[in-house]
Subunit: 250 residues, 2 copies
DNA sequence: ACTTGTCTGGGCGCTAGCGCACAGAACTCG
DNA sequence: CGAGTTCTGTGCGCTAGCGCCCAGACAAGT
């Protein structure tokens, strides 16, 4: 959470042609998103959309029983608050900051205005939304068929792709609640990965030592999500700039 | 699969104002969708969008191992082929006819053309897409936390809402592959429901005898999906006509 | 009627993950 | 530096669902 980053670290914004970019930047407001903050709650009306730069936000549903499960995550490759332009203005899921950091927020009306111009921003937003759907449906399949360890690998890789370094600030408890499994299940899976030298961790900090090792253990779901994001967003890149490509869409 | 139904039995079409409706109807082509037909396969380019009237289509992902899991279903409340206007033109999931019946198909270009008019059809399609996302993320959560029996109830209710009667043509094997569980698991759960007098079945035919019984056993996921669909589509209903409201959005 | 293929009903043993409970280890803050 | 809190490791017993297998039941076709 060090120096405030530039809007173009968000890859949706970075992909915009200069005119659109300038228009939006004028209305963007940098915000710090501390871990645990709830950007919106189930059913609550949205005020702002958020373009994360260094933060990561988790979209998840909390059941009546208190159990929860993440359906998708959003980092610097995307935007939080698509229901603003999809028309629903809210969703039954919550959006919670999973990795503290920075984002730019945009007043809902402005986003809608830009969307309705039917320009490249619209096209980008819709494609991103489709990528998000892929993530959701893949999560559904993964929840059904893959082991906790595989899911942990998927989750670590997806998170890693949204960060600059390879250190996550993240307790096992928190990961467990994202994946919707027991904390002890994560302890065990993470223990395996640590013993294999793939990661190392201490109290709330995970360092990925061997990314290839993760990729070797992960299920196909990670690849599907990553490839689809790349496909959907890489050929809608109009402005070449300092931001480079999102790791997720490299 | 008896008499060919009217386009307005599809509730997206039915909700259109007369002008848009007339435009589209001119380009709609009735098709029979036999059980098991694959409307599009993972990664394949889409030619047509489909508006089911009496058919039901399942969107699901098939893993490398052959295991599969449905992420959402589409009946007369929706449209198959949203990636045509979302911009991706294809998805990693397959679309397979889960209940044989009728649909109207529309050439992809025409759909896009209508979408790009930015009229009510666009608004409807986006809202429907959001409802679909709700379904997907709810499926993810449900896969994680609920029992096979609860999921079967959810699935039966969602299917029932898309049909006129209360008889499904459906083997246990097929249901199992939708839910991504073992066929024996469905045998057992269905056996329970039958013993409780909630359903009755014989070789590929299921009759729901006691809908309230299902609603009593189902998990919250059904309600969330149903309520959200209702919220998203009921207040975008412009043309009152013979179709009435989708059972899903009654 | 008889055969053939397709569905459904069980009956194993097995395992991944759950729920619970507790101890030790690592940070934090007074 | 010590007290308190928050994480992590581990060890149970338990259960839902899996994989496999086979028997019976039903339907359709020749």
């Amino acid at each position: 959470m060090a120096p405030a980053p530039s809007p173009s670290q968000n890859h949706l914004l970075a992909a915009l042609p200069t005119a659109e970019y300038e228009f939006l930047v004028a209305h963007l407001e940098p915000v710090r998103l501390p871990l645990g903050e709830m950007l919106y709650e189930p059913g609550g009306q949205l005020q702002y959309a958020y373009f994360p730069t260094t933060a990561i936000v988790s979209l998840h549903y909390v059941m009546a029983s208190g159990a929860s499960a993440e359906s998708a995550g959003v980092g610097n490759e995307g935007i939080v608050g698509i229901s603003l332009f999809m028309g629903g203005n809210t969703t039954p899921s919550a959006a919670v900051v999973q990795t503290g950091g920075h984002a730019y927020r945009l007043e809902g009306g402005k986003l809608l205005q830009e969307f309705n111009r039917a320009g490249l921003m619209q096209r980008l937003l819709l494609r991103y939304t489709q990528a998000l759907m892929t993530q959701m449906s893949q999560t559904a399949a993964c929840n059904r068929h893959h082991s906790v360890e595989q899911q942990l690998c998927r989750w670590l890789l997806l998170t890693l792709d949204r960060l600059s370094g390879s250190n996550l600030v993240m307790t096992q408890e928190l990961i467990a609640s994202m994946l919707g499994v027991r904390r002890e299940g994560i302890t065990e899976a993470a223990g395996n990965l640590q013993r294999a030298g793939v990661i190392s961790y201490r109290r709330g900090h995970i360092a990925v030592l061997d990314r290839a090792g993760l990729e070797q253990r992960v299920c196909e779901c990670y690849g599907v999500v990553r490839t689809e994001l790349k496909r959907l967003l890489c050929d809608v890149r109009y402005r070449q700039n300092e931001a480079g490509c999102n790791p997720l869409i490299r």
